[in-house]
Structures are given as C-alpha cells and as structure tokens.
C-alpha cells in the first residue's frame, strides 16, 4: 500500500510537471515566472475539495493561492455560469459544471481551454471523456460519476415483514422496475406510515438514464413526445406513485424536511446522494445501501471542472483543474462526501475499494459503488435541449402528484411545453 501511494505521488508530481510544461505552450498567460497569483475555484453543493487539499496545492505551488467559492445549489451555479459566459467576464478561473449542462457548453467549446494532455489521456472512463469532448477538444476534466444503488431504511422494511439486511433487500429488488413497484405495493399494504419512494420525479430520473436515446436522437432531433418509452415511463411511474410515493418534489424544502423525518423507505441513490441523505437526516439512524438497481445499472449526474478562456491565468488554472481531478484527490473527495471518482486509476486503489460509510451503518461503499459502476451499460445521449425537456417532464410528473391534473391532461401539457422549446 505504501509503495502504491508513493508511486502515485511520483506519478502525480510528474503529471504536474509535465502539465506545467505543456501549459506554457497552450496559453498566452505566463506561468513560468513565479509571481504570486490567486486562482478562484467555483464549485457547488459538495465537491469534497477540503481546505487541507487546497493548502496541499499551495505547498506544492507556493506562488499559487486557491480560493474556493461554493454555490449553494447547482441551479445557482448554472445561472451564474451562463450569465457570465454571455457577459464575457466574471467567471472563476476553474468552474465546476454538471454533466447535464455540458451539451450546451459544448456548442461553445471555444470559450473553454482544451484540457487534454498526453498525461491525462486515459485518466477517465471513456464515456465520461466523450461527454466533455467537442471538436476534438476536452473542455471538462471529469470529477465524479453517479452510479446508482438503492438506499433504504431498514426499520420500516422489517416492520412491513420484508428483509432488513442489505443482501436480503438486494435480492428482493433484483429485477426490473415493475418488480421495484411490486415490492412497493407489498410494502405499502403493510401500512407502516412511511411511503415507498420520495417522488415520481426522482424515480423517473432513474428510468431516463437507462436509455441511449430517450428525449433526443443522436443527431439532436427531439423525439421526447413521440418515443413510446418516454410515455410508458411517465405513465408507469405515476401509476406506482399513486400508492407508493411520499409526493414530495425532489430538492423542495418539504423534501428536505421529509428526509429529516424519514418520510420514505427507499430512494434511488447515486453515490453523491449519500452526502445529501446524511446531511439532511442526521437523526434517522437506519439508512442502509443495497447493492442493486432496478433494471441493471444506471448513472445519474456527475460533474466536471472547466477552465474558461476568459480567465487571466488559464495555464495555471488548467494545471489546478488537472491536479484536482487526479485519482488521489478524487479518492480523498470520495471518502469525505461519497462522490464516486470517474478516474479509472482510482478503482484499484485500496483507499477507494476499502471505503466504508459510518452513517449508512458501515456500508462498504467502495465495493458497492464499484459494482454499481460496472453495472452501467448505457451512455445516454444528452443534447442541448435535454435539461429543458427534462424540466417539462418533471413539471408534468409533479402536476399529477400534486393532484392538479390527470395523467392524460398532464401529458398533453408536457407535449405542448416540449413543442414550445423549438
């Protein structure tokens, strides 16, 4: 283990040095001189870049001070990013980006520094790199991915007469989505006072990420309103939701309060969700993770670091972005927040594979999410309209859950909202 670590350190140092050299050629901003500079790193939610990690970078590069600005929500970060990209100034030197905004940014790849270097080549999973490559330029350095498991609360499971241990629950939920809903029916019939899942919208995300072309064809043509998979996912989730859902819209204040009160027994659990659950529900003690996911595997979300060309120190910023997304740093982030690395080199590291999470009753999260990442077979195509279409569909799901509309009426409105996007 020691040897591995020191090898990693040497590798890291070489990469860093190589990048410094490579960086000089790419950007006009000088880094060779050691005049002190300050780099701003703009992230959101929990990226796991601790102050200690940034201090370590300062120790390695005494002339560089890194200041991290953390936006409260990814929505706020996204608004800020697009506004300042349009304005042409004001962004951080390194900007975190969520995978769902990537399609839009890829259209303007000239606004971002190309992060590909011979050293960072092959660092990430192929599909992770693909999703951030435009015109042969890599505009985002992958941070984490979101392989999905199922998180569940063991007390209500046992109360309902179902298995309570992770292995038993994994067996119970092995199967397709109909199986997940059917177990939900059995659970609800036991009247534990707790719902089966949080919301139709969150569950729908799990389905949407299991198709290659769900809303859009790979040439960008919108098929959301005609693709039978979309409509049947919409209807089946809502049918299950009528009896099984807590009807709390994801990320709403009520949803956060619902987590704190343990209002539902299962939820889709991409790795980054662990921090959200433990952060909102410190008093709920029985959350566990089952190494299973309906219909195989799925990936939900994950982020990148980008370097906008409008920054003053783009070469130094590129170096920082590539250092932060090196396996060692992302493993450290995984241990603190649960964000599962997108770096291939991290997967064999014992610090990752042996990781446990005390909040989830010492779940072996390193092992679980390694398995869940292997189960991901499909890379969904997400075009420039993906986020807007998803918003329209999510609105439609919420309208039915809040009993404002029937499924048919809501779907009709979804169709007209999507048509208005053209």
């Amino acid at each position: 283990m020691n040897r591995l670590r020191s090898a990693g350190r040497i590798l890291g140092a070489t990469v860093g040095l190589a990048l410094t050299l490579a960086g000089c050629g790419v950007s006009s901003a000088p880094v060779a001189d050691n005049s002190p500079i300050t780099l701003t790193l703009a992230t959101f939610n929990k990226f796991g870049y601790s102050d200690a990690m940034l201090a370590q970078y300062h120790a390695l590069h005494p002339n560089v001070t890194v200041v991290q600005n953390i936006a409260a929500t990814s929505q706020a970060a996204q608004d800020n990013m697009f506004t300042k990209l349009a304005a042409g100034s004001g962004l951080g030197d390194v900007e975190a980006v969520e995978v769902d905004w990537m399609p839009k940014l890829k259209q303007y790849s000239n606004l971002f520094v190309d992060l590909s270097t011979s050293e960072s080549k092959g660092r990430w999973l192929d599909w992770k790199t693909q999703a951030a490559t435009a015109n042969g330029r890599l505009i985002g350095a992958g941070t984490d991915i979101g392989p999905e498991a199922i998180c569940y609360r063991s007390d209500p499971f046992i109360k309902a007469g179902l298995a309570g241990d992770p292995a038993g629950v994994a067996q119970l939920l092995t199967g397709d989505w109909n199986n997940y809903y059917a177990v939900g029916q059995r659970f609800t019939a036991a009247h534990t006072g707790v719902a089966w899942f949080d919301s139709a919208g969150a569950t729908f995300q799990g389905l949407a990420n299991q198709y290659t072309n769900f809303f859009e064809q790979s040439d960008g043509k919108v098929i959301a309103t005609t693709n039978p998979d979309v409509k049947s996912a919409f209807v089946s989730v809502l049918n299950a939701s009528s009896t099984s859902s807590a009807h709390l819209q994801e990320w709403s204040t009520d949803w956060n309060a619902g987590l704190a009160n343990g209002a539902w027994a299962t939820m889709l659990c991409p790795s980054w969700m662990l921090g959200v659950i433990s952060g909102n529900g410190p008093k709920v003690k029985d959350w566990k993770i089952a190494n299973v996911f309906p219909n195989g595997g799925g990936n939900w979300g994950g982020s990148y670091l980008t370097v906008p060309t409008q920054g003053k120190h783009t070469a130094a910023a590129k170096e920082l972005a590539l250092w932060l997304t090196a396996p060692e740093q992302q493993i450290a982030a995984f241990v603190t927040t649960g964000n599962y690395p997108s770096q291939v080199g991290a997967y064999t590291n014992p610090a990752l594979t042996g990781a446990m999470n005390p909040y989830f009753n010492n779940a072996p999260i390193g092992q679980i999410f390694a398995d869940r990442a292997k189960a991901v077979k499909v890379t969904p195509y997400k075009g420039i309209k993906y986020a807007a279409i998803m918003q329209a569909v999510q609105d439609g799901l919420t309208r039915v859950e809040s009993k404002k509309q029937s499924i048919d009426a809501s779907w009709a409105q979804v169709v007209s909202d999507i048509n208005a996007l053209s």
Partner: protein
C-alpha cells in the same frame, strides 16, 4: 495710435459682447447643463439598453452565440401565442394587485399612526423600516420554508386550530398570496416612511382649522390628509406599480427550481423572460417579453395616474 485705440475699443466691445452672450447662455443653457448628468446617465444605462433590447427582440439571438438572423416580429408572435405568456400575465397582475393594494393601504395607516404624537419617534420610525434592510433572498428563504405544504410553520399552525392545510405551492391563488406577503413584508415600511414625510409637510394650520370646524380624526384624515398627500401618493403608487410588475426575486426563490412552479402557478413575466433567455438560451424571445412587459408597465402606470388624480381631486373638492 488711433488704430490701436480703435482695436482696443473694438476688443472691449467684443469682450463685452462675449460676456453678454455668456450671460445669456448662462440663463438659457445652464439649467440644462445642471440636469444633464441624469439624462446622460439615463441614456447610457436606461435608454440604450431599452433600444438595444428592441433590436435583440427582432432577431434570432442566442444567449452565448449572439446575434442570428433577422426575424422581424416573429419573436413577439411566438410569445403571444404561448399559453405560458398569458399565464405569466395573469400571475403578474394577480401578485401585483395582492401586494400593491394592501401594501399602500397599510402603509398609509401606519404613516398616519406614526404622524401622531408618539414617544421615541425615531425608534418607531426605524422599526418600520427594519424589514426593508433584510436581504430579499433571506426573506424569501425564510418565508419559503414557512409556507412549505407539509412541514411548513404556517400549515402546522393552521392544523393546530383545525384548519385544513393550504396548498401554498400548488394552488395559484395561495402561492400568489404567499409571495405577496413577502413583498408586503419588505415594502410596507418603506412606503410608510415616504408617506409619513409627505404627511409631515402638510400645514398644521389645516388640521387646526378643521378641528375648530368640528371635524373628527376620521374626517380630518379623509378630507385633509389624503387630498394633501396626493403628490406623494402618486409617487408611491407609480413606484409600487413598476416594482410590482417587475417582481422577480420572490417568485424565483419561492421553490427549488425557480421557474414558477410545475403548472406555472406563480411564474411572473420576469420569470418567463428568464426562462426563455437563460435555461432555453433564447435571448430574442426573452427580449420580446421584456418589451411587452415595458409596454404593460407604461399602460398600467398611465391608468394608475388617471385613477389617483381623479380620486384625490374629487376628495380635494369636497374638502
């Protein structure tokens, strides 16, 4: 010698003439010069953006990509045919009425109360202004969680007195009331202070005369205070109209998505504009909405002006 005196004379005459015209220019042009900073600034930060927005609205225009092809009035046509535009118009007017009307009535009442002989005047006046100092974002976050449907403070209190939960984030009217509450919380005190300043400027002789004539405080308020307050009221109502129709922070932060609700229950014109311009990157359509909103504000402002004038004048006559 003679020539030089002539020259000197000529110069003095010229100098005198120059001074004279300076004086004339001073009288004619100085006032314009003095007020010009405002107009220059206005042209830069008000008029230019306004006209430029008009230019943008006539093109296909991408937020990041910039100017596209000329489309004439297509953006306006598209927007006017959208169901969401009309819902946004309904919401804007509804939230505006629910906030502006109670706000101005309450502000006038508070101002009248503050205008009486109170002890610790400054303390009371400053307390009224306190909500205005709080950041709108903070106000909205606090109210947003108070108005949570299942775990919110308001609904829990209502349940305590056996009243059914109100669906603050689902019903359009309930959400409008909740948002109007936030607006009123912030702006009532501010308007009260402006109205108070107006009231203090009213000559006390009028009240004394009215009192001698036997007028009680009610008729003194309606027959002296209100008519005398007319210019201040017009100012307050016009600014409340402009602010109310442009309302953005409160509906934007009312839920986690900030796009006005799943059925656009509280999506105002500015939120609709934002939705088109930012998440959809369609700046041309957003600019068209901006211009329609501008026209709407002017129209309602004129209506307000007419109504305020009429009310105040008719009361002034009866006084």
């Amino acid at each position: 010698m003679t020539t030089s005196t002539l020259v000197v004379k000529d110069l003095t005459i010229r100098g005198f003439r120059f001074k004279e015209s300076l004086g004339r220019w001073d009288v004619t042009y100085s006032p314009y010069l003095f007020i010009s900073p405002f107009f220059i600034l206005f042209a830069l930060v008000g008029l230019f953006p306004l006209l430029y927005t008009g230019w943008v609205s006539l093109h296909a225009w991408d937020l990041l990509g910039g100017q596209g092809r000329w489309t004439g009035f297509d953006n306006f046509g598209f927007v006017l045919h959208q169901r969401q535009f009309w819902v946004a118009l309904r919401n804007t007017l509804s939230i505006f009425l629910l906030s502006a009307v109670p706000q101005i009535i309450a502000a006038t009442a508070i101002a009248a109360a503050l205008d009486t002989n109170l002890r610790n005047k400054t303390f009371w006046r400053m307390s009224v202004l306190l909500p205005f100092v709080v950041m709108p974002v903070a106000v909205t976050l606090i109210f947003g969680s108070m108005f949570g449907e299942r775990y919110g403070l308001v609904n829990r209190t209502l349940a305590g007195i056996d009243l059914g939960p109100i669906r603050w984030h689902t019903d359009p009217l309930a959400s409008h009331i909740a948002i109007a509450t936030m607006v009123n919380f912030r702006w009532t005190g501010y308007n009260a202070l402006i109205l108070l300043a107006g009231m203090q400027a009213i000559s006390r002789d009028l009240y004394e005369a009215a009192a001698i004539d036997g007028a009680g405080w009610v008729s003194r308020f309606f027959r002296v205070t209100l008519p005398q307050l007319r210019p201040t009221l017009i100012f307050v109502i016009i600014t409340a109209t402009i602010g109310g129709l442009q309302i953005f922070d409160e509906p934007r932060l009312y839920d986690q998505n900030g796009l006005g609700g799943e059925d656009q229950q509280w999506m105002t014109m500015t939120i609709y504009l934002y939705k088109l311009g930012w998440p959809q990157l369609n700046f041309g359509r957003a600019a068209a909405v901006a211009w329609l909103l501008f026209l709407l504000i002017i129209a309602i402002g004129l209506v307000n002006l007419a109504i305020t004038r009429r009310i105040a004048t008719s009361e002034g006559r009866t006084a």
